[in-house]
Symmetry: C2
Amino acid sequence: MEDTNNQKSFFAVQDFYPDDFAWCYGCGRLNDHGHHFRTRWNNEETLTEYIPLPQHIAVPGFVYGGLLASLVDCHSTGSAALALYRQDGHELGDAAPVPRCVTASLKIDFVKPTPLGQRLTVRGRIVEIGRRKVIVHSDVYAGDTLCAKSEVVAVLAPTTMRPPI
Amino acid sequence: MEDTNNQKSFFAVQDFYPDDFAWCYGCGRLNDHGHHFRTRWNNEETLTEYIPLPQHIAVPGFVYGGLLASLVDCHSTGSAALALYRQDGHELGDAAPVPRCVTASLKIDFVKPTPLGQRLTVRGRIVEIGRRKVIVHSDVYAGDTLCAKSEVVAVLAPTTMRPPI
């Protein structure tokens, strides 16, 4: 299978996280072992695409829920960062630092078993945005099939999560 | 760090899943790449313990949310299987086949950042049980610190998830 998970043909918010916040197993560009999820605007929605690896199964032929939870988690914190950045008048590529959000709560409903071997598409909508809290609703598709729906409450990273100097 | 994630000093429900249902990346004993979460009774609670790997980080020093979601996911489906099995009068080691549940929905609240480098303990309570649906509430601790709380609705695996013959 062609590795299309590492295409760099577009800017993703994770490309701009400060180095100290770019180590996430899900979406950190500096984590050599992780998934490298990448999230961007697609008109008024946010978009993350990923092709699960053969081992990411629940039972043979179907993707395991933990991978989907991880995917919507990083997609949603990325969406929240994009939304806060745009709220401040910025777009990716501007000089201003991109904010980094973490997840306060995550809910995912598994609508249908998610088939392995297809590109998954996560489409996010910003349903509420404040100064430091964003609520993101997302749908996970395999092809045209809706497989999961999520609601994530993301907040700006607290200072207690900053790595020790 | 001593690898205490693969200790086999107790029976876990995942040891008894039918082979066709033992491939989960989170908890399948036959998945060479996965986490191998293992869940058992501890009096009236269910218990899963796991020490995250160094790469399972959100930011340096703290565990990423996707790992915690995966952990409570498999812990909860395992707890549901244990509860359904006990409801039918069985305990692990009996000859009767152990049921296999999947997740219908998962909600996780991240209460505090979860420090890396400690054993995580997930303690589950069965709050509702029917013939094929179980609701499990769980708490994730790092030492004595409550780091996350979850509610999972687990259901018996549908026939559409059975692997092709």
